[in-house]
């Protein structure tokens, strides 16, 4: 359904050109949910925004393709792209709960979104649909008349999901949607997303820095580092048989109940600046098993099993202990 090939996104900033997404390859089938993970600044949000072509000023797609059902979104005119947004692909943002218009009640806001995109709909039908969507998303339709400030963070996030689903998109991109919410509310929101995915056969890209959240809520997972997708595979492949040294280290860092009561601070240092990335593999300065090849050319994302588990690392077959 979605097929991204060699996507490159660059930001022109005062200090030069930062390549935030570098030769990214991704694909997504119908009804599948893909997690996009990585630390801050790795390019995961940029990749999400690039798919919808809503990059902030100074950002541009400088190469590659984004094919949605065979249509390359990169080539579309702005006018045509506008018709894709919301209707085919919609997005819920991290701060989405604060993106409602404070002067308008939520059912009107959802209805308005429907009216703008489907001009032949009557106001009554649109409102009816809005209430139905709110109900589906676990908000009592009686609360539809509430204004955003009257709702809690979790409620507003539900409202945002309702709004994102208003035109029955095929693909929903959720960018750090539960980062500001408590674990219990987070669990409620993800239960809702899973229900919606089943109900509408929705494909999803869930962007998060929290690997544990993604493990629980996605089918496949892609890990990004300094603009590169370094490993992609099923949840099982990534968690049980990680191949990239960065991914292995990252998994070590997450404290979890089953992992014994120890914090292993594996990866030292910080990710490189995107303005002056190191030559070769972006991870090599922090990688304990890098070899001379790593310093000259960036490794390709190559498949390591029949399951489409792919890794971009020259040392992906290294079996020894890397982190301790």
């Amino acid at each position: 359904m979605l097929d991204i090939k060699d996507l490159q996104v660059e930001y022109t900033v005062p200090g030069g050109v930062a390549r935030a997404v570098n030769k990214a390859n991704l694909n997504l089938t119908e009804g599948e949910s893909l997690g996009l993970a990585g630390e801050s600044g790795c390019g995961k949000t940029t990749l999400g925004n690039a798919i919808l072509r809503i990059l902030p000023e100074g950002g541009q797609i400088s190469g590659g393709e984004i094919n949605l059902d065979g249509i390359d979104l990169v080539e579309l005119s702005e006018e045509k792209m506008r018709r894709i947004r919301w209707k085919e692909i919609s997005m819920v943002f991290q701060g989405a709960m604060n993106s409602f218009d404070p002067t308008m009640n939520i059912e009107n806001q959802i209805a308005e979104a429907i009216l703008i995109h489907q001009r032949d709909t009557s106001k009554e039908t649109a409102l009816e649909r809005a209430r139905e969507l709110l109900r589906l998303c676990g908000i009592n339709p009686l609360l539809g008349k509430s204004y955003p400030h009257e709702l809690s963070g979790g409620m507003k996030q539900r409202g945002c999901i309702a709004m994102a689903l208003a035109l029955q998109p095929k693909l929903l991109i959720a960018d750090e949607i539960t980062t500001a919410l408590d674990v219990m509310t987070q669990a409620q929101i993800f239960t809702l997303l899973r229900d919606m995915k089943r109900k509408f056969n929705l494909s999803m890209i869930i962007i998060s820095h929290d690997l544990a959240v993604l493990a629980k809520n996605c089918d496949r997972l892609a890990i990004m580092y300094a603009g590169h997708i370094v490993e992609i595979g099923t949840i099982q492949d990534i968690f049980d048989h990680p191949r990239h040294p960065y991914v292995k280290g990252l998994l070590f860092c997450i404290p979890n109940f089953a992992g014994g009561r120890k914090i292993i601070a594996a990866i030292k240092g910080a990710p490189p600046s995107l303005l002056a990335p190191p030559p070769g593999c972006p991870f090599h300065p922090r990688c304990p098993i890098s070899i001379s090849e790593c310093k000259t050319a960036a490794p390709q994302l190559l498949s390591v099993n029949t399951n489409n588990h792919s890794v971009a690392c020259y040392r992906k077959d290294y079996k020894g202990v890397i982190w301790k």
Binding site: E39, S40, S152, G154, M155, D182, V183, M184, T185, Q186, A187, Q188, T191, H209, D210, L211, A212, V213, A215, K216, F239, G249, L250, L251, F252, C253, I254, P255, N256, F257, A258, G259, R261, K262, I263, I264, A265, A266, I267, K268, A270
Partner: protein
């Protein structure tokens, strides 16, 4: 005073006055209070990490600030190293401050953006008149920065906060807390804004400092997996009250209170997720302005009884040092023991 407790808190209460509208002020209506911390008691022995966990708005940050007397408690006692500091005046408190320090959540806000790292870290020394000359000050700052893992310190001294990464900035925050050689530190979500790899490095640093300096921590977090990996004792807070306290491993592996059980079941642990069914509580994180009667958790509880809606349960010891406040669990325990 018991076995070397660095800090002992007894029935601590902290209320905030709810800001009233002009009309109710004119009508002299009675002021409304919001209980942020309601009858909290615990103690921390030297060298231990005591963790308070709970959802946002449960009162955990207020608890931390009240213990350090950054907020004035309304009732109860705070005993620090055998001395009751509850009613201490500002001046006497100032003498104690060097021993009790705080690390804040947001390293972007807790350091003066216009001051060089050197000046930020040295400020506590100056305020407390603890150094004689410039050389001593310089040495102490360098030493502390390196202790906080900023090596070589010379590279950081004359930088500004905006030149540093989030992790480095939090290390500066730690250095400012450490420079007075404290014995007790309240760390309020010190890693919640950082990436996991940075978080792991910082938690390790805090552990190392505890070992080397025999520090005692009150660690406040919303992340139970961090609490599990990091602390000795864990308290679960709900609407201003502790609902469960005990040795961390026990609270996480065999929770007693229904709220703790639910909270632990929804933590997205990587391996745990596969074999345990999450208990997703309905409804919202409650509002402390509106505390329900009886057990404050009962409106969201999945095993409540009639009694829970009328009476408030007290803490009962279930296994040694492991306490919880729940009528239903208490009854089940009595039944089990009766057989």
């Amino acid at each position: 005073m018991n076995n070397g407790a660095v800090l002992e808190v007894r029935h601590l209460k902290k209320y905030f006055v709810k800001s009233a509208g002009i009309l109710s002020t004119l009508l002299r209506e009675q002021r409304k209070y919001v209980a942020a911390v309601e009858d909290v008691s615990f103690s921390i022995s030297r060298g231990k990490i005591f963790c308070v966990a709970g959802e946002s708005g449960c009162g955990k940050t207020t608890l931390g600030k009240t213990i350090l007397k950054l907020l004035q408690p309304d009732d109860g006692q705070i005993i620090f190293q055998g001395q009751d500091i509850t009613r201490l005046k500002r001046d006497s408190m100032r003498m104690l401050r060097p021993k009790m320090q705080m690390i804040f959540q947001d390293p972007y806000e807790s350091i003066d953006p216009r001051a060089r790292i050197y000046d930020s870290v040295a400020e506590p020394l100056m305020v407390n008149h603890l150094v004689k000359d410039e050389k001593e000050k310089h040495n102490k700052v360098v030493q502390t920065l390196e202790l906080a893992g900023l090596t070589p310190a010379e590279n950081y001294l004359y930088k500004y906060p905006h030149n540093l990464s989030g992790g480095e900035r939090q290390r500066v925050g730690i250095a400012t807390a450490l420079i007075l050689d404290p014995e007790f530190i309240v760390a309020d979500e010190p890693t919640s804004m950082l990436d996991v790899s940075v978080q792991a490095n910082l938690l390790n640093l805090l552990q190392k400092l505890r070992r080397e300096k025999n520090l005692t921590y009150l660690f406040i977090t919303h992340d139970l997996s961090v609490a599990y990996a990091f602390s000795d004792c864990l308290a679960i807070m709900y609407l201003g009250k502790f609902v469960e306290v005990g040795p961390t491993a026990e609270v996480v592996m065999s929770p007693i209170h229904p709220y703790t059980k639910a909270l632990i079941s929804v933590v997205p642990g990587i391996n745990l997720a596969k074999n345990k069914k999450p208990i997703v509580l309905p409804g919202e994180t409650p509002n402390p302005e509106n505390v329900p009667p009886g057990c404050r958790f009962h409106p969201r509880c999945y095993c409540k009884e009639e009694r829970c809606t009328m009476e408030e349960p007290v803490m009962v010891e279930f296994t040694p040092q492991h306490y919880a406040a729940c009528f239903v669990q208490e009854k089940m325990k009595l039944k089990k023991n009766g057989k």
